[in-house]
């Protein structure tokens, strides 16, 4: 028996060790769950317990080139239901149907749906703050508000065609919003509410807010000041001329950056549903394509200089028409311009002169330049809906087509093509691809993600030819058909255009697209402005009459915005008595006594304030005042 007891005692001791060892195994395994897998399992558990109410990510802000916001976001909460938590189903359904203006049946269906989280689309998405307030006040169980956002257009309809708009889920549909969707789009987050396995809320637990992330910010090449200027000019022109369509484009000729771009008719991106698709889909400066008329002569002229087929001081006689292949093609001026130099040919926009340049170049050479200037192909601007225009096939060009092409008829082009080509003609000869995206940055940190660089497409003409073009275009404004764009103190160059509109192969009568392309300062152009107006009413439909003054107005305000100073070595304007206004410099009157002011023949004084001494004057000394104009003099005591 003792032997037996001995073995048993030994095995009992072994059992004690075994128990202790197995308990250590349990604790070891428990530590493993807790300290190795713990956080992973905990995350899975939190996912199991929580009902996620999705929150959209905020889209990135769109800024102008100087960092001024153009489009940002504003709060527009969305309604989310956790149907199982809704206690008074009928009452809540009735309440929601009233607040969201949906039918009771519809509302009841949402409230009783057997899902974890129910969204009411589209009426319950992005509601007004007023609606949200009503819902907050009632504070029904199971009815939640989620902090969604909608786009906030700080300048309403301005720049609408470039910006585009977003849909109900904040997805980009057109414009920049669509083009750069991948960057602008924010990543969604969620409000997590803890529930038990049956979906009821665990009221003792706070929810977790998994904040959505904001998309990246986009900086455009647009200068919002210039855009506002352009849009206002268009608004004024609309009031005055009631045109069918209008468009404006301001670009930096040195690199293809677009400063401003506007179309009329326009739309408000916040309410895009209220407009025709044709309005918001047609970004006219890149979409519209038409026979440009005389603005195209810049192309012919520069090709002629580059190829050396004429000299500026060479004489040409314009009888008022040119016979081409038995067809008599008339100049725009009855009777013609008579004897003139080739410089005067462009100043006068003389059609026979350009037909002569075209003839001297020949089809091959002229169309080679048209091609190299980028016509007939999309410029590749980073915007939606660009057209490529239509250029004659070289094989189909006979003498008549050559002649009309030379002065801007027959080929149809887009405004953006014309502006990039004109830029190449005056910037030293380089064609650039136009663009609106300046850079992309991270929100908050402003970390640079992507930066656009100017894209040089090709050299079209030599620097010397470009020099001559700048001179020639400045003289068009100083002395020719563009004189209505002349600004005292700024070297403005430009070219008028009066385009006939062909419908079914027949040109319309008294229905033109009149345009002007201007640039300044002509010794070193900083900006190109193009403006076109389709069928202006109650006016002579000539580019020089309608469009040139508008471009002048734009340039006059745009140049100071860009910080470009006045110069005094411009080509002096030539006066045509009775037609042109004269300007005279204003003397310095400040500090002078009222009764000692010099007598002026060109202008009158108008006095403000009381006192004997001039404190302030407008215009400032040195500026020029139109003959017969007024100088405002502010008086004060000593």
């Amino acid at each position: 028996m003792n032997d037996f007891i001995f073995i048993m005692q030994k095995r009992l001791k072994f059992l004690m060790i075994l128990f202790s060892a197995l308990v250590i195994v349990l604790i070891f395994r428990l530590s493993f769950i807790q300290f190795v897998n713990g956080s992973d399992i905990t995350n899975r558990a939190i996912n199991l317990w929580s009902r996620n109410i999705p929150v959209e990510g905020q889209r990135g802000t769109i800024y102008d080139r100087n960092g001024k916001p153009i489009v940002n976001n504003k709060l527009a909460p969305s309604v989310a239901l956790i149907p199982r938590q809704v206690e008074k189903k009928e009452e809540v359904a009735k309440f929601l149907s009233e607040v969201l203006s949906i039918s009771y049946e519809d509302s009841y269906k949402h409230v009783t749906k057997n899902v974890n989280v129910e969204l009411i689309k589209p009426k319950g998405k992005k509601i007004t703050l007023d609606q949200a307030k009503q819902i907050i006040n009632k504070n029904y169980k199971g009815v939640y508000l989620v902090g969604d956002t909608v786009r906030n257009y700080l300048y309403d309809s301005y720049l609408a065609h470039v910006l585009g708009f977003v849909g109900i889920d904040n997805q980009g549909i057109t414009g920049i919003e669509y083009m750069y969707e991948d960057y602008l789009m924010g990543e969604g987050g969620a409000s997590k509410y803890f529930t038990d396995a049956k979906g009821y809320s665990l009221s003792n637990l706070y929810g977790i807010y998994d904040a959505p992330s904001k998309g990246m910010d986009i900086y455009l090449t647009i200068d919002i000041e210039l855009q506002i200027l352009l849009e206002r000019v268009l608004e004024n022109a609309n009031a005055r001329y009631r045109p069918d369509q209008m468009l404006g484009l301001i670009m930096n000729p040195k690199n293809g950056e677009i400063y401003a771009m506007a179309s009329y008719p326009s739309y408000n991106p916040a309410e895009y549903q209220n407009y025709d698709q044709e309005i918001y889909n047609r970004n006219l400066p890149i979409w519209m394509s038409y026979e440009p008329g005389s603005t195209f002569k810049i192309i012919t002229y520069s090709a002629g200089i580059e190829e050396g087929v004429f000299k500026l001081d060479e004489h040409f006689y314009d009888p008022g028409y040119t016979m081409v292949d038995g067809t008599r093609i008339k100049d725009w001026k009855a009777g013609g311009h008579g004897d003139q130099t080739f410089l005067e040919v462009i100043q006068n926009s003389c059609n026979p002169g350009f037909m002569e340049i075209g003839r001297r170049l020949g089809t091959e050479r002229l169309f080679d330049y048209i091609d190299r200037y980028g016509f007939g192909k999309k410029t590749g601007v980073d915007l939606l809906g660009e057209s490529s225009g239509i250029v004659f096939d070289v094989e189909d060009v006979g003498p008549v087509e050559l002649a009309t092409s030379s002065f801007g008829q027959g080929n149809s082009v887009t405004p953006i093509q014309l502006v990039t080509a004109t830029s190449a003609a005056i910037n030293g000869g380089l064609l650039y691809q136009p663009y609106v995206l300046k850079d992309i940055r991270m929100p908050i940190t402003n970390e640079l993600i992507y930066e656009s660089t100017p894209k040089e497409v090709r050299r079209v003409i030599s620097e010397e030819t470009s020099d001559v073009m700048r001179y020639a275009l400045e003289s068009v404004v100083a002395r020719g058909t563009g004189r209505n764009a002349f600004i005292d103190g700024y070297r403005v160059g430009g070219k008028t255009g009066t385009a006939q509109k062909a419908v079914n192969g027949v040109y319309l009568e008294n229905n033109y697209i009149v345009s002007f392309i201007g640039a300044a300062p002509m010794n070193d152009p900083e900006l190109v402005v193009y403006f076109a107006i389709d069928n202006p009413k109650d006016t002579i439909q000539y580019g020089g009459v309608v469009a040139a003054p508008i471009v002048k107005e734009i340039l006059k305000e745009a140049l100071p915005i860009l910080g470009i100073n006045r110069q005094d070595n411009q080509i002096e304007k030539v006066y045509r008595w009775g037609m042109d206004l004269r300007y005279h410099p204003v003397p310095d009157l400040i500090g002078k006594k009222k009764n000692k002011l010099p007598y002026q023949i060109y202008y009158k004084y108008e006095f403000f304030g009381e006192g004997e001494v001039v404190k302030y004057q407008s215009p400032s000394p040195g500026e020029k005042v139109v003959e017969g104009g007024m100088i405002l003099v502010y008086l004060g005591k000593e």
């Binding site: 308990v23 195994v25 399992i41």
Partner: protein, 365 residues
Amino acid sequence: MGESGKINTLLFVTTLLLTFIGVVMVYSASQVWAQFKYNNEYYYLWRQLIFAGIGIIGMIFISKIDYHLYRNNASKIFLFVFFLLIIVLIPGIGIIRGGARSWIGIGSFSLQPSEFMKIACIILLSKYLSDYYKDMKKPKYIIMLLGVIILVFGVIMLQPDFGTGMIIIATAILILFVSGVNLSYFLYLGLAGAGGIVLLIISAPYRLQRIFAYLDPWSDPLGAGFQIIQSLYAIAPGGVFGVGFGNSIQKSFYLPEPQTDFIFAIILEELGFIGGVAIIILYLIFLLTSLKISYHAVDLFGKFLALGITLTIFIQFFINIGVVIGLLPVTGVTLPFLSYGGSSLAVTLLGVGIILNVSKYQHDD
């Protein structure tokens, strides 16, 4: 034979502590279910409190009964419980709960004969081992004893209650091990067991997948892995210090039967790693103390009796916690002292009462 006449205080105190923790945690774990099913969050608390009260009074009473009484009536006790085990299978008498016909009930009072069979088997084994320990080197006796145990297992599997059946078999084998049976028998037994498992797998290979699903519960998250995953979802968020008493999320319908088999998961969630380890150590103190009582018992019957009951409690403790922490496949074994359930708690406390009585008669060495 020296009789100190005093029961082992440490065993008594740890038993009361574990029972108290059980009552409190049954309340916390069952609260949500109780509210949902009976509209009374204290439903399970009250019942467990009554079971514990009856159990503790029973334990004190049993601890005063000389354990030799069981030796003289071992066969009668066994046959009586075996009879209950048979009649529980008869429809109309046996009540089905959770898919097994395991309960005999009169009114709202019901009990599980299989729970009592654990004690009955231990008494029977203890008697035979202490009477025939010299013959235990002969295979005939071992096979005979094992034959009785396997018969009991077979009858319990008719309910079916695999967990209890397995505990009885495992307890018997471990008692035989301690009784000095030649180790080579365990080798044969191991081989036979392995052979059986291989046969089961060959006959239905999916079983292997089922059994080992617990190793990667996410391979079958809605089937075999479901309970393990829900248990882990309670344990991990508990962290070191727990989410606090009463704050479990997993008890809100996520973890099935949080107050019974998986109560330890809720304990880990609410009281954390530290609370869990503290309870495990309390068990270890209890188990080592009762093994010491067996060690010092004055006669063989007392030794086997204390040993057998300790083994039963240990096996249930280890399997239950092993399942909860994903160390073992899900079997349906309750946690002694802590899990909700009258029969389970009563039988455990009665067993402790027997050990306490054994502790009155101790050798000094």
